[in-house]
Every structure is written in C-alpha cells, then in structure tokens.
Symmetry: C2
Subunit: 372 residues, 2 copies
C-alpha cells in the first residue's frame, strides 16, 4: 500500500477556534446587552480549557465558569489575572488555598459553604468575591429555598461574602414549552430581589434560546460555544461545529464472504468486502454503541468526499470501515472523520447525548487547534 | 451541615496496586510457564500507565504492550530501559523517531509497515527488534493471509526485521464455545510454523481462560489485570477489583413530593425525599445512561455500609443520590462509591461494556494509588 504523506497512528481531535469565536459572537448578539460567562468546566468539555479559554478571552470573554478549583487554577495560568473565574462546586475545605492562590471566586451553594468561606477569608487580605447560586427547581447543587430565607435575613453574612453575582440554573431549558422554565424564572426573580444589587444570571445555552427575559446581565453558554445543539428545535440553533475526530487509516484489507469482522464476530461479511482499519476507538471517545453488527449498521465516517459505514465492534483503539463501494483510492494515513456537524446524530445513534460524547473526545487524541 | 474531615470537590479514582499485583500473579500462575506481557495501552485503560506500569514491573513484568508510540515513550520514561515495550499499531512514518528514541518495538501488521521499518532502520545502529502480528480471523489490524505468504517466502525481509515475537489476536475468546477460537488457533499454528523460531503469543485475558493450548510462550492480559471480567462465565474468573470511583457529597437537601430532580425533570419525587448531591458526573466517566428516571432506577452507589439509588439525570459534574431511607448520618465530604466489584453490573446497566466504562474513569478524577 502506498502512503503519500507522513502520519502518526495517534488520532487527532481538531478544535476549530474560528468557529468557537464565531459561536461566542453569535451568543453575544443573541443575548443583547448581557455579558457572556463561558462554561469551560471539564477541560472545556474535553477540548482543552487552556487554549479554549485563551481563544475565548481573545474573542472578548472576561468571565469563566469551571467545576473545580483545580480546573480554575489551570485556566488562570492560561488566561492571566484579569478575568473572573467562578468555581461552580463552590469552596470545599481542602481547596481553599487554591481559591486564594489563583484568585478564584466560589459559587456559594449552601449555608455551610457560605460560613466556611467567611471563616476562611478572615486569614487573608483581598479575598476573592463570590457568587450566590440559588436552587430554583433543578434540585441539584444550589442554595435551597429554606436556606435562601437565612441568606435574605442575614445582612452580616451577605456583606462578609462580598457577593458580585446572583445566579441559578435551569433544568429544562432545552424544551421551550416546559413549565419549569417559567416557574424557575419566577422563583429566581423573587429570591434575587431580596439580595444585593449585583448582576443576575440564569441562562445556560438553552436559556439563551428561551429569549430576553431569561438573559438578565450575564448568560452562561457552554455546549453552544462548542457547536453543540441543546434544544428540541435544533434547526433554529445557529452555532457552527467546532470539533471533529480524525482517525488515520492504518490498514486496508479484503474479507471473504462468510467471515466475521472484529470482536465477538458480531458482523458477518455477506459478500467479499474491502475494509479500512482506522486508528481510533472508545478510548478516544468513539462510543462502543456505534458498532455495526449483523443486526444493524449504526453509523458511518466521512472518508474523503464519501461516507463509509462502521462495521464490527468499535474496539478500544481501532474501528473498521466498509470501503467495498468506496469510489476512489484510499491512502494509508488518510483520515476518517467522525462528529463535526454530525455530533448530535451520532450521539443519538450511540444512545447517549452529545455532551457525554464530547467530554470523552479529548482523552487520548492529539488536539490540533485550527484557525480558519 | 457538619463536615468532619477535609475534602475537595474533585472526585477520586482509587487504583488498588496490591490487587493489581495479585491479578498479575493470578494470571502468571494460570498461564503456567508462559510469560506475561501486560497490555497498558490507553493509559493503562485509563488508570495511569506510568504508575500502573511501574507497579507491574515491580511485580515482575518485563514485557508491555501499548497502542501508540507516544504511549510507549511515556511508559519507557516511567519503567526504565530494561523492559520490552511493543507498540500494537506498529510503525507509522511520523513516529519513527519516537520508536528509536524510546527503544520501542513495532508490532508489524502489514507488508507496508515491514518495508517502511526496514528502510527506516538503515539509518540507525541497534534498531529495536520487532513482533509480527498475523490476522488469523479477527479481520482487524494484522498481517492478512495473502501477505503472510510473502513474509513466509521472503527470508531476507524476515532477517532484516529481527523478529523476536510472533503473535495474533483472538476475536471471541470471551466465549469458550465459539468456533472461531479453534479456527484462529489452527491458523496461528500453521503460519507461525513458517516463521523464525521465536516466542509465540495468542492469548489476551480471555485467551488465558481458554486453557494451556492457547498460552504458548507469552500471554497478554489487559482487562483482567485491572480486575475486569471478560468471559461469559465470569464467576470462574478469580481477579480482584482494582478500581473505584469516589464522589464526595457536596450537599444534602430535601425535595417535596411532586417536584422533579435534575435535568429534564426526568425523575419526580413521589414522597418528600432527602437527596445527596455528589461530585462526579459523566465527565468523570459515570455514564449518563446510569441516570434514574420515573421509568426506571438503573443503579445505586455505596455510601458507608448502604447502597443508595441514583435519581435524576447524571450530569457532567454531579450526580444525585436518594438518601431518604438512609439509615445513619451522611457527612459532607463523605464518599459515594461507584464500580469496584460492581463494574460489570453497572456497565451492563449503562448499556455498554466494562472496558469502555473503565477507559473513561481517569479523565478528570484525582488518582489515588492504594497499597493495602
């Protein structure tokens, strides 16, 4: 087999920073006067928080959200001292030094976190400011209704916390018709009215699509920035795909009719076939549920200008493509492409959600950041 | 809420190195006189190839398999110069320098790789030796039957490759009754008889369980070393669990009957409930398909001495546990435990395989290596 270019067996994740910046501008425009606080938790959904954060900073973003203090530290080292970095999990006892050292703002989710923080900052000058996060109906992390009363009444606590943002999180923003949206909006307005006069924030990506009354002073897109669709009306979402998984062709071979392909012999060649073995598997985030068996062919990859089916079990490191009917010559080192504009469809075929697929893509791939 | 110990919001993956070493000894005993070549590809299935590799080296392992040259380089830096490291994807043009620099042995999967390698080593002294990998029926990566003839006839090529291992890979070793096992064994014997007199290797973890005639001189366990079950008769597999995911409790709250919990409102409280929000989600490898909805509660976590159900959608960073009927006091910072001896069951509940779950566990968790 000829191969005309150099290539590595390691798969590549391409992250299109131009599309990322375009998506940032798209949400900035959609949110009107509201500012953007980018969610870059979980290593920017697997895409690399350092470089993604810097690209968003370059596009104008000055407010970021991460899940853990350790993530905040990495981001701080990448984007410099000027931006606000909020830690969504809030302060936990072991991480206090990281909050102070990297100037991270805790998102206060409970009275315990509030009191721990107030106690901790007595030891330092210029402690970071904080956000208050009220649970308005998601029943996940966040200050519950009964504790909200305490916050509303305890002026001394509020003053000590030096709050600069009051926020909540929507549970069902992907479905514009869901009754919980209005209910959460109402609860958020009622509780925030009893808090200090600081910027308010309610909307994640889905919340931005819900319209102006959900935007307040700050919106917090995550998945949308990375090109993911999040609503039941995804054709109305104007984001550009950011991520593709490129798996190099390592080998091309023929298979005789009647032979099986891959683990468990779950796919049987009905005719003589030509297959390409590409170098990416579930350790690279290609879900095992995209495997093609005798029962069903689930998905395909883009190879050159064509799409070719995935056959046999997706294994840890390799995936097999049926190129029997491929119209053209496939070189070794050519890249089979997964995801991109296909992300939602392929996630659905894998019986999961685009978010989960995306977070697993960066684990082993070499990341290549593209500026168009 | 009281919390009596210090803790971070970041989840922890515990890797039990004593159990790992015990599993190594278990397979060494099972394989009789055959040596063990440990599969530590994909960062040792997500557990950290550097430390896992060193622990296996400490247990006596001197032969390792990785998928890519870059993985081999990291492993070499961790375990030192004396062990053999084979790269299963074989040599690819861009990685040649890494093979030479880190003394990695390519697993030759095709005539193209063989000829590329022979060409490349002309430029160096003391080139690494190689393995030949024949495809005996998995129809994935490996030298196909027609190319095997060329290898058998071309003594000059074989001499130049300086082969020190001849191997193949089983497709259906998890099912002792599958006809492909015997078929692959026969093909492997026929082709290896025409190769140089070097050690032979056919068995992955499943192949070790198939019995002595599959063992040859070297067996290559992967999943089994990490405590994973791989066969249809898993009760006969004597491995010890190695991996647990520990998610700290960040908050405890009550939910009123009729309210929903988590994203999409997919779980509704039928009575007043008490829930614990724990800090681990699908970005930490907890599959979204373990979510508990009104339709079905899929799984539970271990909390202290009890098991408590997962309710609502597993989200990127957090998961919610129903502790309404928990008999005892739950502290903040207490750890909810997923996987361990439960790995296969929870993977099945998540509609995937234990291998895929394991490879995703190490992405964000802090890894703590335990010696019992």
């Amino acid at each position: 087999m000829a191969h005309v270019r150099t290539y590595s067996s390691r798969p590549v994740l391409t992250v299109n920073l131009t599309a990322l910046a375009d998506n940032y501008k798209y949400f900035a425009a959609k949110a009107g006067g509201a500012r953007i606080g980018a969610s870059v938790k979980a290593d920017a959904y697997g895409l690399g928080a350092g470089i993604v954060g810097r690209a968003l900073y370059g596009a104008g973003c000055r407010i970021f959200f991460v899940a853990h203090a350790g993530e905040g530290k990495i981001l701080r080292n990448s984007i410099g001292a000027k931006a606000s970095i909020y830690v969504l999990s809030g302060n936990t006892p072991q991480d206090t030094a990281i909050f102070f050292g990297s100037k991270l703002k805790p998102v206060i989710n409970s009275l315990t976190q509030a009191r721990d923080w107030v106690k901790a900052i007595k030891a330092v000058n210029h402690a970071p400011r904080t956000a208050l996060h009220f649970d308005t109906g998601i029943n996940r992390l966040g200050i519950p209704a009964e504790e909200a009363e305490v916050f509303a009444d305890d002026k001394e606590l509020i003053a000590a916390l030096d709050v600069d943002l009051v926020m909540s999180h929507l549970a069902c923003s992907g479905d514009a018709e869901h009754a919980l949206n209005e209910s959460q909006l109402g609860r958020f307005k009622r509780i925030s009215a009893r808090m200090p006069m600081v910027p308010l924030s309610l909307a994640n990506t889905g919340g931005i699509y819900l319209g102006a009354k959900y935007h307040f002073k700050l919106v917090r897109p995550g998945m949308g920035l990375y090109g993911g669709k999040v609503t039941t009306q995804s054709d109305k979402e104007g984001v550009k795909p950011v991520v593709e998984l490129h798996a190099p062709v390592l080998q091309i071979k023929t298979v005789k009719a009647g032979e099986t392909i891959g683990y468990d012999g779950s796919f049987t060649a009905r005719t003589d076939m030509k297959i390409a073995i590409v170098s990416a598997g579930y350790a690279d985030g290609l879900p095992v549920n995209l495997s093609g068996s005798d029962k069903r062919i689930v998905t395909s990859a883009r190879l050159g200008k064509h799409r070719v089916p995935v056959v046999g079990r997706v294994s840890m490191d390799y995936t097999i493509l049926d190129i029997t009917n491929y119209d053209g010559f496939v070189e070794l080192g050519a890249k089979a492409v997964f995801f991109g504009e296909n992300l939602e469809e392929q996630a659905a075929h894998a019986r999961t959600i685009n978010y989960e697929v995306m977070t697993h893509l960066g684990a082993r791939c070499r990341k290549i950041y593209v500026n168009e």
